[in-house]
Symmetry: C2
Subunit: 172 residues, 2 copies
């Protein structure tokens, strides 16, 4: 049974981290091409990530993997097409399907943008980095459990797969 005060301290720091990071992100992207603003956790970003792991998926496949409706998927894909991050192309095998592929700049966005090691990790020592990694590993698996035990059990595998694949990919 962990100490409540210690938990509160950590929780406070975590909130502070979220807030201050949000502010810092805003500043960093303030005048950049507005493309890079979106979070990689949802909408268009999610699609980019899924494609960077597995290019040439159909819209349906994307929707299934990312737990989005077909319509949302279509919307995001179209937006990405407009930004030249992705291309659409009718499948020759099944002419109902549309195959989505990353463009060069799309691939670049999906990888470089998310694989950037944040500046703030520079202030940590090797030991602290190890501690942080080990702590986050615990936290993450606890969160996976939470997702797993929810009423959307399938969501578990989906998110875990996409996320882990992505992470594994870029840091190996």
């Amino acid at each position: 049974m962990p100490n409540l005060l210690k938990q509160k301290n950590a929780a406070g720091k975590l909130i502070e981290f979220g807030m201050v990071r949000h502010v810092a992100d805003n500043i960093a992207h303030r005048d950049s091409d507005n493309v890079e603003r979106q979070s990689m956790f949802q909408g268009q970003g999610k699609i980019l990530i899924a494609l960077s792991q597995n290019d040439g998926l159909s819209q349906k496949e994307l929707a299934t993997r990312l737990d989005l409706t077909a319509q949302s998927t279509a919307e995001f894909v179209n937006k990405l097409v407009k930004k030249n991050l992705v291309t659409k192309e009718k499948s020759t095998k099944d002419r109902r399907m549309t195959i989505i592929r990353l463009t060069d700049s799309g691939r670049k966005m999906a990888t470089t943008e998310s694989s950037k090691v944040p500046e703030f990790l520079n202030v940590l020592s090797d030991e602290e980095l190890d501690q942080l990694t080990s702590i986050l590993t615990k936290i993450n698996s606890s969160l996976y459990d939470e997702i797993n035990n929810s009423d959307q059990p399938t969501l578990f595998e989906k998110s875990q797969q996409v996320i882990k694949d992505h992470i594994r990919d870029w840091f190996l």
Copy 2:
């Protein structure tokens, strides 16, 4: 000079944390009153937090402190009024100004909602909690520095003040 591999590991975990937490949050709030969904870092949430630290501010004051336009502020305040989280009242001293105050439920939201210790901290030992707190302290102050050294130096004090006041407030 820290080990790059260790940095990448930590960065990966951090990204994973962000993603999986986002998914978990979505599940948790899937059918809840839609009120609690918003992040406390922006928009309406920001205003709630600022007021919980310092109730009875004018709209102008809020806009200044939170670095929002008067119009955005008005919009968020009006939305909060509709949700009964906040009240508007003309100042008697300067009848141009509108004083914004938290209602009881507004105050409750601002405090309880954000002072909830997340479940996932339960999986950490006391020692790990201390480590996490100390690591986040370093990271946060590094982020504050980054904000401070940006081209919007005033934003630094604003955000730091609002954030720190809020954190200090609820966990003491």
